[in-house]
Subunit: 216 residues, 2 copies
């Protein structure tokens, strides 16, 4: 008698994954609170009760989605920001990979960003935990080298948000910009990565500040 090709739990994955897939899509387009569990169950083609069966609650489902996105983002940071090369090289390859990552996980990104400022005490701890780790990497791999080379001290709590916002801008505004332009007119992805890298690097490593200042 031949043994099964899949010895252990591969079945539940189907429904579970369909739920996550549908949830990310709906949360990104309609928002977390606007999306009802019945609507989600219908989109995932599962019974309503399956959501609480697999995830316990709606909030746990959201936390799972946030964790997936944050952990991928943090992995890229640890892998690409560290490693060989000078500041420019490392930041350059980091941004290039993050742009691809954001493009690929666009809905995850939208869910994460739109839920960012909301201060549900059950959610905010999760976000802060991930942010803390990310800030640590940025401090070590960007802020310290930058201070060593140029003497400029910019706190990582400033660099971190700036960097991610800069990269995410394209995707965050995509729905609105599509409505504005009718779909056309956006930069190609690689060109966008290139431009973002240039803006950020020139911005933090370029010639001295202060000479750009003028009156009101």
């Amino acid at each position: 008698m031949m043994n099964k090709p899949h010895p252990k739990k591969i079945k539940p994955v189907e429904s579970r994954d369909r739920i996550i897939q549908a949830a990310v899509m709906l949360f990104a387009r309609k928002g977390f609170a606007e999306t009802g569990l019945r609507e989600l169950a219908a989109a995932a083609d599962v019974n309503l009760a399956m959501i609480n069966y697999f995830f316990g609650s709606k909030k746990e489902l959201l936390k799972g989605i946030l964790d997936t996105f944050f952990s991928g983002y943090l992995d890229i940071a640890r892998e690409k920001l560290a490693g060989p090369g000078d500041l420019q090289t490392r930041v350059g390859r980091f941004i290039r990979h993050v742009v691809d990552y954001f493009d690929c996980y666009q809905d995850y990104l939208l869910v994460t960003i739109t839920e960012l400022p909301h201060d549900d005490p059950e959610i905010i701890a999760h976000k802060a935990n991930w942010a803390r780790k990310m800030i640590g990497v940025i401090e070590k791999e960007i802020c310290l080298p930058l201070a060593r080379e140029t003497g400029r001290k910019i706190p990582p709590t400033c660099i971190g948000p700036m960097l991610v916002s800069l990269i995410a801008a394209r995707f965050l505004f995509a729905p609105v910009m599509e409505e504005v332009t009718g779909g056309a007119g956006s930069l190609e992805l690689s060109a966008y990565a290139e431009m973002t890298t240039h803006v950020f690097l020139q911005g933090i490593t370029g010639p001295d500040w202060k000479e750009t200042r003028n009156q009101t």
Copy 2:
């Protein structure tokens, strides 16, 4: 008999404004959909029915808030981006004023950004209308001069989101970063405006691109 100092409708303003005030605060902290009208009425210290009496519906209330924020932002753009001075001067004073504006209307900003990607058909038209006007100003005052001076053609649908995201980063991430650092460690407001201006200007007008590129 002396005539009234305020001949027309100044009374309803009290309740109406308290509702808007409470709504902006709650929408920013809890999100639009998470905020119930009864909770909002309690926070504004008005009767539940007053909200629909003044605004017609919850969505109309949100639209009003978005309109207030967008129109203020567009006013600054028209006033500061146009006017005298070269590109650097104009962008510099624009960013300085926008940073103050975002700081002053922080809750309006959070509401606007977190509701940005959600594609409620009743809301998206409003956002696109404002975005269209803003894109027009940026095209005329930034993209065209930039192309004339440096030959670089960056679409306004790319510059616009990038610029606002860069400036808004500090405020969008503020709730999370406070939890991370415990409140301390953020740049002063004027220093933040200065740095943002430098990053953006160096980024789009600085030395040639392409030399920052390296391998994976």
